[in-house]
Structure formats: structure tokens, C-alpha cells
Symmetry: C2
Subunit: 158 residues, 2 copies
């Protein structure tokens, strides 16, 4: 399946008042290569194995395959993962017809807040609330796979 997603930095905390849910996510990677990312995720009381390919040329579409697994399986598989587990809280915020998933990172990625929206086509219209900042779609350093290896708090700002 091909996913069309756009990703933005979040500039204000006000999205939290609009959120209808927030869920802890802990995830690790069996491969962080953006051409064949293999992710193990525990999200609340569920767990998933997800495989993603590289983005297409526009940077908006990416192959994604996902299967639910048990928490116990996820825990066994997390033990095999590369060092650098991602820990974050995901807020779900409905804006118009769309769902923004806003990830507030903890641990080594503390300070980073990223919003993602899934679209049905690359040119679909969507509303941008005022807490949405710079677009970072397709920027590999914001991939969770890369954040696990090179976390946000280690980035040098010029």
C-alpha cells in the first residue's frame, strides 16, 4: 500500500486543547535504512510490525505494510532492535475532515514536536491551523528511524 503523508514542525502547544486522545508510543527498528525500514511499535495496548520503503520522487508517497502483533511479540522483537528506542506521546487532533497526529518526543528527542497528516491524493486540500510551522515532508532526518540513531538533542543548530 502507498501512503501519502505530509509532515510539519509544530510551533505552539495549543494543539493539546483540541486533541481528542493522547497515547504513549515506544518503538524500535530492526532496520533504520530508509529504503527498507522495519519498525516494532507498542502504542497504548496494541503493537505493530511496520515495513516502509523510500519516498517517491515528490517525497510525499511511501510504501507501507503493517501487521498487528501481540505486546509480548513486540517486547521480544524490541529486544532485537538497533540501539535507540523512540519514546513519544501521540496526540490526535481533528481539523476539518482530516486527522493530525502530533508527536511530542521524549528522551533523546525531547523538544521535537511534529505533526503528520494523511491524504488520499497528493493535491488534496487540507486546513493548516496556526500551530503548524515549517513543512519537513520527505526530510529524512525527521524520519523516526533516523531520530533513533541521531536524536534531535544531538543536532547542531547554526
Amino acid at each position: 500500500m502507498i501512503e501519502i503523508e505530509r509532515k510539519f514542525l509544530v510551533t505552539q502547544d495549543t494543539f493539546k486543547e483540541l486533541a481528542h486522545s493522547n497515547t504513549r508510543i515506544v518503538q524500535g527498528f530492526l532496520n533504520t535504512n530508509p529504503e527498507r525500514t522495519v519498525r516494532i511499535r507498542i502504542k497504548g495496548n496494541s503493537a505493530f510490525l511496520t515495513i516502509k520503503g523510500i519516498s517517491n520522487e515528490s517525497g510525499l508517497s511511501r510504501f507501507e505494510w503493517e501487521r498487528e502483533i501481540t505486546i509480548e511479540e513486540a517486547e521480544s522483537l524490541l529486544a532485537l532492535c538497533e540501539p535507540g528506542v523512540i519514546d513519544k506521546v501521540r496526540f490526535e487532533v481533528e481539523i476539518g475532515d482530516h486527522l493530525y497526529e502530533v508527536d511530542v518526543f521524549k528522551g533523546a528527542n525531547e523538544g521535537l514536536v511534529v505533526a503528520e497528516i494523511e491524504l488520499k491524493s497528493e493535491d488534496e486540500f487540507f486546513e493548516k491551523p496556526n500551530w503548524i510551522g515549517e513543512e519537513v515532508t520527505g526530510d529524512i532526518k525527521y524520519y523516526n528511524s533516523q531520530l533513533s540513531k541521531k536524536p534531535y538533542t544531538t543536532w547542531a543548530f547554526d
Copy 2:
């Protein structure tokens, strides 16, 4: 789940007369790292996603997690795999109470024939027919993940 397997080189073709089945296997890897191998396999009309960890100290036990997937899913996922697909025919041979799986490699691994037997405990007795040669259990260069990157026909023999 932990698997106990022993692996041997095969010295003669006579196992073929004893085999009750043979099946073509095509497989690729989303990760060839022996600490977290992720394999996509099409075996006859079935397909599987398998994740394996590194061997324990004795070299005999290895964490393994497997899930059946559809052939279509396997084909999509094979397209994401690292270069170097493994192509082989697996013969199943029953000897006493045990099953030997004998893999006759093709393509870049032509000439290599390996037999594997699964045991319930590390000290379980099993019969060794006369076509069983040197034991290569735990030798990483015989892992299929490594054969996909560094195939048998490229090995230098002294």
C-alpha cells in the same frame, strides 16, 4: 521462540532418493545483520516473514519469529529487499524421528548443498546418514543472509 538447529554440508546426491518432497524457495532480506535478520520467503505457494536474532554462545539456539503473509505481500516486500535474492530447492528427508531439510542452492550460490535438522534440546540424539559432511552450525558465512551478500561462488578456496 528459540530454535535449536544444526547445519551440515552435504557430500553426496543420494539424499534425493530419500526425499519425500522438494520445493522451490526464493527469499530476500530486509536486514542481513545476523543480530536482527528480517527475511521474506516465498516457498512453493506460501510466503513468510521471519525475524531471527543472533545465536546463543553454543551457536545452536537462535530466536526466531515467523508469520505467514500472502504471495502478493511477499512480492511487494521482496522489491524492498537488499540486492542478492537467494534461490534454492529444499528437499525434505526423514531419517529416523527427524526431518533433514536439504537446500540445493542455485544462481550465485550454485554448488552449495546444506542440510539442517531441528532439535528439541541441544543434547538430543539424531542419526547422521552417510551424505552428511562437516558441521557448519553457527558459522555465519553459511547463514542465508550472508550468502545473499557474499555468495558461495565468490568464496576463495585455499
